[in-house]
């Protein structure tokens, strides 16, 4: 009985908890980027998914270059070494986009909807650029040790029937996400620039009156967004694989996470990311295995006990989004929306 219970816990962690934590961290980092753009620049950035794709692409290109020169940080993936370079290139791209595209509309004090449509144009360009440079296909760029713990080793170690596998990418995701989030919150709450960003986000007019330079705030925002998008994209790519179209599709869960948490609220974005990730993984997981351990033999489930097919995972973020919008339009953490 006790063994069954342990097996159930291990199976649950292996198939639900660990993947959901990794996915949730990736979504949270993506949603932080969306929420920062929304808070400071005041528009929904539809190009965010493709910014992530662009950042990941530059990281992949640097990774290949390092690999060809024989540079590696085994057992960690080379992509981690390439990450700062990818962030730098993406930051240049975003600052360039801001200078050439968005600044004009900021001067005009254009409506948020106009910004949104402009971001669609940027999305097209980034999309084309990424496909043009690296192609529309799948790219795998994870190297180094694949697993921290293999399912077989775990079984041998504990004598349980269920194995527990922890992928390197999953633990890197979690560690990186924690470091990034701590650094971001330290920056927003403790530094002068971070405080001016928050002030600008809370009340633009007051911030301007107290002598905050808006262009400086905007530049810092784009720099942070570039870092967040590149890191989120790279972690997702290491964990799964890189395909430009998948990154575009991530837009929906990322926006859902940001809105569920409350647009403009960084804490909300993190919470939202985990809410979306856990619901997605739990609702599309086939519970048969876990239930078989937990239920008496006579009650064993006959089907897979999968609530919804994996293909419909978008529907889950969408339904959560709609429920939150209907019942608590400002999100869990009282964002500034509506």
């Amino acid at each position: 009985m006790m063994i069954d219970f342990l097996n159930a816990i291990v199976a649950l962690s292996n198939f639900v908890l660990i993947p959901a934590i990794a996915y949730g961290s990736q979504l949270a980092l993506g949603a932080l980027g969306v929420t920062l753009v929304y808070g400071v620049l005041r528009f929904s950035n539809f190009a965010h998914g493709d910014t992530m794709a662009f950042g990941t692409m530059t990281v992949i290109l640097f990774t290949w270059w390092f690999q060809s020169m024989g540079i590696s940080i085994h057992p960690l993936p080379t992509a981690l070494l390439a990450l700062p370079f990818g962030i730098a290139v993406t930051a240049l791209l975003l600052l360039g986009t801001d200078r050439v595209v968005y600044r004009f509309y900021r001067k005009q004090k254009a409506q948020p909807v106009i910004y949104l449509i402009v971001s669609l144009g940027v999305m097209f360009i980034l999309n084309g650029l990424v496909r043009f440079i690296i192609g529309p296909g799948d790219q795998r760029f994870a190297d180094g040790e694949r697993f921290i713990m293999k399912a077989r080793d775990f079984k041998a170690m504990t004598g349980l029937k269920e194995g527990l596998a922890i992928k390197t990418s999953q633990s890197i995701t979690l560690v990186t996400a924690i470091i990034v989030v701590i650094a971001l919150f330290w920056f927003l709450n403790r530094t002068r620039t971070g405080k001016s960003m928050r002030a600008f986000s809370d009340n633009e007019d007051l911030a301007l009156l107290s002598g905050i330079n808006p262009e400086r705030v905007v530049i810092y925002t784009w720099l942070i967004v570039a870092a967040l998008a590149t890191i989120a994209g790279t972690l997702y790519g290491l964990d799964k694989s890189f395909k430009p179209f998948t990154y575009f599709q991530l837009l929906l869960p990322i926006f859902a996470a940001a809105i569920v948490g409350g647009l403009g609220s960084p804490l909300g974005a993190i919470a939202g990311g985990f809410v979306i990730a856990f619901s997605e993984v739990m609702i599309t997981y086939a519970w048969k295995k876990v239930l078989t351990y937990l239920m008496p033999d006579s009650l064993d489930p006959s089907g897979l006990v999968q609530l919804i097919a994996t293909e419909y995972k978008f529907a889950i973020s969408f339904v959560i989004l709609v429920i939150v919008l209907l019942f608590r339009p400002t999100g869990l953490f009282r964002g500034k929306a509506l």
Binding site: V113, I117, V118, L129, F132, G135, F255, Y312, L325, L338
Partner: protein
């Protein structure tokens, strides 16, 4: 009169572009551009109704187009009796159970007093309803999909004329739009955008995965056509004789003839919809919609029911997109759910509306033609450009091969630049709203 001559010169330009394609490439590709241009113009009219006239941001056009496309299956494919026998009624019963559950939830939420009792009751209804729905529908789906899966494996349609699918496609899209509008309208415009983006992905996911309904990624081929088949024309002595008098090869003549018939059908739909849109735009209703768009608060203060009007125009615009979707699938005579890509079916339509001139129906139509022409022609132009740029490189240089192979993706880049340039330097479009 100045406006009229401007309109005419732009449309003359489109005509020149298409006729030029006929002379320099082939008449078949010219007619292809014309036909898809007509469909694009209709799509663009639909989005213009929502964005240009009412200021609603719908980025789920793809979903409505796909629903319209699926309606051609539901209407025109022959029913499959074996599949119906295997589980048709049971699937219908399952769907009815699902619908009843949702209805019970909605009614329960609005009728029962707020409190813990309501939460528990609604949760119980949801769980029981879901289990009942799954237990009824799952075995039925399995047995339907097992019926001759290589060729059938779905319920088929009603076996009616395919032209009927066009209005039905509009109705299906309108129904979906009603559900979305009921939940997402009245919120901020960004939320409508994200909600429509989500629903369009879901619609396409359903069409891709519910094999019993649309055969999923196995596609439905051979959807009946409203026009004769080329092969029949080629075997018809009268047609061959007529083609010969024009000095045409019967094979080419038949393909051209079929495309021209499609063009006439599509053009008549476009003209009817354009006429209706113009009537709507210049009616008191159109003035009210624009008043709401320009100042919602003022319109509300004048006693206009803004949310209801938004819902109305959202449904109408989506229905137009549904009609266009059905026409597109009819033209292909094949339903391929995996072909629905948001960049092509949602965001390209947005480029059409913005470039053409949002708020102006003729502008939207013009945008549909011009942007579609560019979308088709940028690919060969990009390829040519890449060949010129890379000509100094060695024949087998890796960079050269990569650039030439990637030239197809130039069209996304071009569309983005085109859109941004228009937004920056001529935000009201080629034919601005009056």
């Amino acid at each position: 009169m100045n406006d009229l001559s401007k309109n005419l010169s732009y449309f003359a330009l489109v005509a020149v572009l298409i006729i030029g394609t006929g002379f320099y490439q082939s008449w078949n590709s010219a007619l292809f551009i014309l036909n898809m241009g007509l469909v694009s113009a209709i799509l663009s009219l639909g989005v213009n109704l929502q964005w240009g006239i009412a200021g609603l941001l719908n980025v789920g056009v793809m979903g409505f187009v796909a629903l319209g496309g699926a309606s051609t299956i539901f209407i025109s494919m022959a029913p499959i009796p074996a599949a119906w026998q295997a589980g048709g009624p049971r699937i219908l019963l399952g769907l009815a159970l699902g619908a009843a559950t949702i209805a019970a939830l909605v009614i329960g939420y609005s009728r029962l007093p707020k409190g813990r009792v309501r939460t528990i009751a609604l949760l119980a209804v949801a769980v029981i309803g879901f289990l009942a729905y799954r237990s009824v529908i799952s075995p039925a789906i399995k047995s339907v999909e097992a019926v001759n899966p290589a060729l059938e494996g779905y319920l088929g349609g009603l076996g009616l004329p395919v032209l009927l699918a066009w209005p039905v496609g509009g109705l299906l899209a309108a129904g979906a739009a009603w559900i979305i509008g009921k939940t997402a309208l009245g919120l901020r415009s960004d939320y409508l955008a994200i909600a429509t983006l989500g629903i369009s992905e879901i619609i396409v996911a359903v069409l891709k995965n519910e094999d019993w309904l649309t055969r999923g990624v196995k596609n439905v081929n051979g959807i009946p056509r409203p026009v004769p088949y080329e092969i029949d024309l080629q075997n018809d002595p009268l047609f061959v004789e007529r083609a010969a008098t024009l000095g045409l090869d019967p094979t080419i003549a038949s393909t051209l003839f079929v495309k021209i018939l499609y063009a006439l059908l599509f053009a008549s739909v476009l003209i009817i919809l354009l006429w209706l849109s113009q009537r709507a735009l210049n009616s008191p209703w159109g003035r009210m919609m624009r008043a709401i768009r320009d100042n919602e608060t003022a319109a509300r203060a004048m006693g206009k029911n803004v949310t209801a009007r938004h819902l109305q125009v959202f449904i109408l615009g989506s229905a137009v997109c549904g009609i266009a979707g059905a026409m597109m699938t009819t033209l292909d005579s094949q339903f391929t759910p995996s072909a629905y890509q948001p960049l092509r079916f949602t965001f390209l339509v947005w480029v059409m509306v913005i470039v053409g001139g949002s708020g102006n129906n003729f502008g939207a139509v013009l945008g549909g033609f011009i942007v579609w022409f560019l979308w088709v022609q940028v690919e060969p132009m990009g390829l040519w450009l890449m060949q010129v740029i890379t000509s100094p490189l060695a024949e087998d240089s890796a960079l050269r091969l990569h650039l030439i192979n990637s030239a197809a993706h130039m069209r996304l880049l071009t569309m983005g630049i085109f859109l941004l340039l228009m937004l920056r330097f001529s935000p009201r479009g080629l034919l601005p709203e009056k």
